[in-house]
């Protein structure tokens, strides 16, 4: 059995400048924040993010200047921050290329990528500016090489089989590395996600290389006792990292809630580049995962800790 274990630092080192990345999770849940912070510490540059939808991890990487291209459909912090202020700022300053698809289009692009199909056919978003030919941003930037970036943003077609009318064909996602954050991974790479698995299976399968950061690395044999409960097969995973609370400030089903106060603070403080830099100085640079957790403190983390019967925290303050 080859040992798939690596450290957080090694995980970030595997991701080279210019790589295309995708992530586990959904908006403010189960994002690989510890690896994202390590990428920022290592000053990774020119990344191309291709994701079903964005979240705080996107905002961290974009704010830190790591990202050149963002292909997705949404970024924000749900009720803790209306939109992605860092992405918004950099779009305004033309420091980043944004290619907009719809949420279902992105999901179907990953489903195609994960199944080895070149494209997906769908009937969504017809008649919208998502299909405005003047808004093909990767095309305008001359980046559609037909290699890792598709020759066309989309192609209109008609159903040739059943006469179901207008279809839009969207290209399969092509991604170098999937960076995942889950509850459990086995020593050989088998992943068990608890709760909604979002678009994790497709993300892992689409990417050429998959790094899984887990709350805990567990004996492979334990996961194989109930194989029907597992989410991703061992051989789809290349590297594994153990990192408790690695998703903070995003949440993890059954383990801890979203740290809403942290996200609110991040959103409020990082509207400007100076604000982001000050935030990064306080919470990212000069820290490692342990000192980050120490800085957050026991009180904060216990408050977020999920009740193991309910799978969410009963003590976290969510409303006004």
């Amino acid at each position: 059995m080859n040992d798939k274990r690596i450290t957080l630092q090694q995980a970030a080192e595997i991701i080279k400048d210019g790589a295309s990345l995708t992530f586990s999770g959904f908006t403010i849940w189960r994002r690989p924040m510890a690896i994202v912070c390590e990428l920022i510490r290592q000053q990774r540059r020119n990344l191309h993010l291709i994701e079903v939808q964005g979240g705080p991890h996107t905002e961290f990487l974009v704010g830190a200047g790591c990202v050149d291209i963002w292909e997705s459909c949404w970024v924000g912090h749900e009720l803790y921050g209306k939109y992605g202020a860092n992405l918004s700022r950099k779009v305004g300053a033309k420091e980043i290329i944004v290619e907009d698809y719809s949420h279902a289009e992105m999901m179907f692009r990953f489903a195609a990528g994960a199944s080895g199909a070149p494209y997906a056919a769908t009937q969504t978003s017809l008649g919208t500016d998502i299909h405005n030919p003047a808004y093909d941003m990767l095309g305008l930037a001359g980046k559609r090489d037909g290699q890792r970036i598709a020759k066309h943003k989309y192609v209109f077609s008609d159903d040739p089989f059943y006469g179901a009318g207008a279809q839009v064909l969207v290209p399969a996602a092509k991604v170098d590395i999937a960076v995942m954050c889950v509850q459990q991974v086995g020593e050989e790479g088998t992943v068990r996600v608890n709760g909604q698995y979002y678009s994790d299976p497709e993300a892992a399968r689409t990417a050429d290389l998959t790094i899984v950061m887990a709350e805990e690395i567990v004996p492979e044999e334990y996961l194989r006792r109930n194989a029907d409960q597992n989410t991703i097969a061992s051989f789809e995973v290349d590297h594994i990292v153990e990192c408790p609370f690695g998703a903070h400030p995003t949440g993890m089903f059954g383990r801890y809630d979203v740290d809403g106060a942290f996200l609110k603070d991040f959103y409020a403080r990082t509207r400007s580049q100076e604000g982001f830099d000050a935030f990064a100085k306080e919470w990212i640079h000069g820290l490692d995962n342990l000192s980050y957790l120490e800085k957050l403190g026991w009180g904060r983390m216990l408050n977020l800790k999920a009740n193991t019967a309910l799978n969410y925290s009963t003590s976290v303050k969510r409303g006004q």
Binding site: F26, T27, I28, W29, R30, V52, Q53, S72, C73, W74, V75, L79, Y83, G84, L87, S88, V91, G92, D100, Y101, S102, H103, A104, E105, M107, T122, Q123, T124, S125, L126, G127, T128, D129, I130, H131, N132, P133, A134, Y135, G163, A164, G165, A166, G195, Q196, Y197, Y198, D200, E202, F253, G254, V258, G260, L310, N311, Y312, K317, R318, G319, Q320
Partner: protein, 271 residues
């Protein structure tokens, strides 16, 4: 059964919107819920006149019955008690397959045909402000039989032309030229429906089946049709007003504040 309607000082605008939204739901429907006030509205409908509605959360929860209001559709609270917890491929496949009766959505701008923008303010290529992006808004709007939009009512939001059509209304752009054509023409065999109502902080609006144009259906208590027309940059049809938006009942207020959202995550208490 006579309704026990609350008086004006007993409820806030968020209560009124929530109850108006809940009343758009019929029993036994399959409803796609986005984050925020719509979640409270759907769960309110579930606890009142629509006990058999089925709730889908975009992140991958099918027939959800959350014990506590989720703060977002990815929340751990979504899948507790659900028929199935899976992922977005399931949620969007089911929607494209045609299971969804109704979706609740929001937006930053809307035009008279119900085209909605959540992407940017100003020219897309030189935006004044980049917003969140589409999320599932156009998808739910393309796949569902009906969609209801909940919006803040300001003249800058009810506009002649939205900055960017994120989500399709009743007259949509035909590419490559971008001329407006009836939605039915563009969607063809994939056509299922479209925006059925806009619930704003001023009133409830619906769409004419022929022209696809928005008209004022009911005014919220205290608002006049002329006043609401003045809050729209397009020429709002106020010839078909059916009356005043019904206020919340005391039972609905009790459910909203004591059962569904006691933490005031989405709906603040008036007192």
């Amino acid at each position: 059964m006579s309704k026990n309607y609350a008086s004006a000082e007993e409820y806030g605008l968020a209560d009124l919107l929530c109850c108006a939204a809940a009343r758009e739901v019929a029993d036994n429907e399959i409803v796609f819920a986005g984050t925020g006030l719509p979640m409270v509205a759907i769960m309110l409908a579930q606890k009142t006149h629509a006990p058999n509605l089925k709730l889908i959360f975009e992140a991958g929860t099918l027939d959800g019955r959350p014990p506590e209001i989720p703060t977002s559709v990815g929340d751990a609270r979504c899948e507790m008690g659900a028929s199935r917890a899976s992922g977005l491929y399931d949620a969007f496949s089911i929607a494209q397959r045609g299971y969804v009766d109704l979706g609740f959505l929001g937006g930053a701008e809307v035009d008279q045909y119900g085209n909605v923008n959540t992407t940017c303010i100003g020219d897309y290529l030189n935006p004044d402000l980049r917003l969140t992006g589409s999320g599932g808004n156009p998808d739910i709007n393309s796949f569902a039989q009906r969609t209801v939009f909940i919006m803040v009512h300001e003249p800058r939001r009810f506009v002649e032309n939205v900055s960017y059509i994120t989500s399709p209304g009743w007259r949509v752009k035909k590419w490559p030229g971008g001329e407006l054509v009836p939605r039915q023409e563009l969607y063809g065999a994939a056509f299922r429906g479209g925006p059925s109502a806009v619930i704003s902080t001023a009133g409830v609006f619906r769409f004419d089946a022929g022209s696809g144009r928005m008209y004022l259906d009911t005014c919220h208590p205290g608002k006049s049709p002329a006043e609401i027309k003045g809050l729209c940059q397009f020429d709002l049809d106020i010839s078909r007003v059916s009356g005043e938006t019904l206020p919340p009942t005391r039972e609905e207020l009790h459910l909203i504040h004591e059962v569904l959202d006691p933490e005031q995550i989405f709906i603040p208490r008036v007192k």
